[in-house]
């Protein structure tokens, strides 16, 4: 059983991400966000469950689909929204957009839009964490597609070899863009087996349950803080919206809504809400609406980057 505090913390975090992305999607047709948005709606619980057991000083790394990770780890909402608007106050000063985000203070590594690149990068953060010897850990989020890149195998092998404190989190939503896993792997269920073969203990959570994700991460992270090596967690989830863009795309040509329905019925926001006192949910909702609205105002009111920013930061 999870404590009331844990439940309300998870609820707040999942809903906060959901609403942030829904509001961004609503704004999108206005062309104020001129950035390819890859929404996590429907799969926020992976970031939330894992980040719930991380601390200050731990790091997370992710892909172009990283709004959830960013917010769950404590990255600022204002910085994220302003980045999507291309403003000077954005978390990358307007230079990165939705696909490239960062919050160094919150332990959010820069996210990368070349599939898989975050995996070795995060492994490097884990190498540094181990060298520092302060019990810090790294969690890296990537899709099922990313697990097909060579650098995935090479990073797991090295992390296992050097017993690095890194949690590999495969967010398996069954698709890479419009291509289902079965067209990309002879053994679609075999991601954990690959990790095991490389010396990385692996578990699969096939129903997207936030408590299972959180508890799995808690166990792995505790072991890593005590000096154990890497762990892989495969969390099966479902992406509710387009691969890129603000809309739904059921019936467009690669999937039908019936496939999504069981996942929507098992929506983690609703599930957590059902475990809470009604009044409590309303208070949290109101706070979140205010926070998201404030982030939109912040983004709208922020200045665009000064022209000379084009040439700043080419070299450190």
């Amino acid at each position: 059983m999870h404590s009331k505090d844990t439940i309300s913390r998870l609820y707040r975090s999942v809903l906060r991400i959901r609403r942030f992305e829904e509001v961004a999607a609503d704004i999108y047709p206005s062309d104020k966000i001129k950035s390819p948005v890859h929404l996590a709606i429907g799969q926020e619980q992976v970031s939330v469950g894992v980040c719930d057991v991380l601390e200050d000083g731990d790091w997370v790394g992710g892909s172009y689909r990283s709004h959830a990770m960013h917010l769950a780890k404590g990255g600022t909402m204002n910085g994220l929204m302003a980045e999507m608007f291309g403003k000077e106050t954005g978390c990358c000063r307007g230079k990165g957009g939705s696909m490239h985000i960062i919050d160094v203070g919150a332990g959010v590594m820069g996210s990368s839009a070349v599939v898989g690149t975050q995996i070795p990068m995060a492994t490097g953060y884990a190498l540094a964490a181990k060298a520092a010897g302060r019990g810090r850990v790294v969690a890296v989020f990537f899709g099922d597609g990313a697990s097909e890149e060579g650098c995935f195998y090479e990073s797991l092998n090295f992390a296992a070899l050097r017993k690095l404190p890194i949690l590999f989190v495969c967010e398996n939503n069954g698709y890479a863009i419009h291509e289902p896993l079965a067209k990309r792997r002879a053994r679609p269920e075999g991601i954990c087996a690959v990790a095991e073969a490389l010396g990385v203990p692996a578990t699969r959570i096939d129903d997207g349950d936030i408590f299972a994700i959180r508890d799995g991460a808690a166990k792995a992270v505790a072991a890593m803080r005590a000096g154990q090596g890497p762990v892989l967690m495969e969390a099966c989830v479902y992406r509710w919206r387009q691969h890129v863009g603000p809309d739904e795309d059921y019936g467009a040509g690669y999937r039908e809504r019936v496939e999504a329905e069981p996942w929507m019925a098992a929506d983690q926001v609703a599930k957590l809400a059902a475990l809470m006192a009604p009044g409590q949910c309303d208070a949290i909702k109101a706070e979140i609406e205010a926070e998201v609205a404030a982030s939109v105002r912040f983004a709208e009111e922020s200045p665009i980057p000064a022209p000379q920013e084009l040439f700043s930061h080419v070299f450190a």
Binding site: G94, E148, A176, I177, I304, V314
Partner: protein, 350 residues
């Protein structure tokens, strides 16, 4: 049957090249992430899987490095693979295979194997493509002996270059541009090859020679129209293929105009523009040269910053003016008039 006046979009012209070559030669196959999905790489591979089946048209795991090596092996073994990448940036995962194997195989193994491989990729621009979805990396490939590099700027060349690339016995890198996909041109129905190493003079003029690469041909043509309104006649040249490179056409023009402006869709440092400028300088006496390309920085996503990253018809026209009219006051066309139809139409997310 010939119908020279049929108009096709760039993306449909590409598709027709694949269709005709696959029908002609059973060793041709097209593969890469998403080539068989319902959108078919913006339409350029749409329907091919229905016609030629999943053995010849297939998606791949996200494994660009190995898939490139696999394509090279299949090519050496007698097939004609076309490997598709939705962004040129992702070809950076293929560099070892392309440069260490594909480019060198024929030479280092004494001419006994060939690598008839086509690698096509799209360059992105605008709508927050940013650092990792916008790079024009053709100069990296131009640097390496053994690789051919082509950059069709219009629908006619798109079909003809693709057909020539598929029939070529060497690895050919075909660089496409996302914003060109909707542009239209007359495209013959029958199969035809556009010969590599033959530049196209897109517009005649005596005052200044402007070489454009990839979509910069379109921008340069617009600049030339604006220059003509103020009495400067620019000759616009499209090299079409960068390796082999038809310097003779560029040099002949530059010798006449004595002014050469090269506009690349890539960085100027060690870029295609540097190579063209160097060869022209070696060949022409008294030539004034200017180069334009990506700003020497990483592509940002904020639209106002991104605007400063690329040459555009306004900046090209200004630069050409100052080359053609040295000692006169600087001139720039009104920004309203420098907009290109394809840019006005384009709206994200891709």
């Amino acid at each position: 049957m010939s119908s020279p006046d049929r108009i096709l979009r760039y993306v449909d012209a590409l598709r027709e090249a694949f269709d005709q070559e696959m029908a002609r030669d059973p060793s041709v196959f097209v593969f890469g992430l998403d080539v068989d999905d319902y959108l078919g790489i913006q339409g350029s591979t749409k329907g091919l899987v229905d016609k030629y089946g999943p053995e010849r048209v297939f998606t791949t795991p996200l494994s660009e490095d190995a898939m490139t090596g696999i394509a090279i092996g299949a090519a050496m073994a007698g097939m004609r693979p076309v490997h598709v990448h939705i962004r040129m940036d992702f070809m950076l995962l293929c560099m070892n295979q392309l440069i260490n194997i594909a480019a060198k195989a024929h030479y280092m193994w004494g001419g006994q194997v060939k690598v008839p491989l086509v690698v096509r990729s799209m360059i992105g621009k605008s709508w927050g493509q940013g650092a990792q979805h916008s790079q024009g990396l053709h100069s990296l490939f131009m640097h390496i002996p053994g690789l051919k590099v082509v950059a069709p700027s219009n629908a006619y060349d798109a079909k003809g270059c693709m057909l020539a690339a598929i029939r070529d016995d060497n690895p050919v890198i075909v660089m496409e541009h996302r914003l060109l996909y909707a542009t239209e041109a007359p495209v013959p129905v029958e199969p035809y090859a556009v010969e590599f190493g033959k530049a196209r003079i897109c517009r005649k003029g005596d005052d200044v020679t402007v070489v454009g690469i990839s979509n910069m041909v379109m921008e340069a043509i617009r600049a030339a129209e604006l220059l003509a309104e103020v009495g400067v006649e620019a000759e616009v040249i499209d090299p079409v293929s960068l390796v082999p490179l038809d310097m003779a056409t560029i040099i002949a023009s530059a010798n006449r105009t004595k002014r050469l402006l090269i506009v690349d869709n890539g960085w100027t440092m060690c870029g295609a523009s540097a190579e063209i400028a160097a060869q022209a300088a070696e060949a022409c006496e008294g030539l004034r040269i200017r180069r334009m390309g990506f700003a020497p920085t990483t592509c940002p996503t904020a639209p106002n910053l991104e605007a400063g990253f690329y040459p555009n018809p306004g900046t090209i026209a200004s630069a050409a003016w100052s080359l053609a009219r040295p000692g006169t006051a600087a001139w720039a066309p009104s920004p309203e008039r420098t907009k290109l139809a394809y840019q006005v139409q384009f709206k994200g997310p891709f």
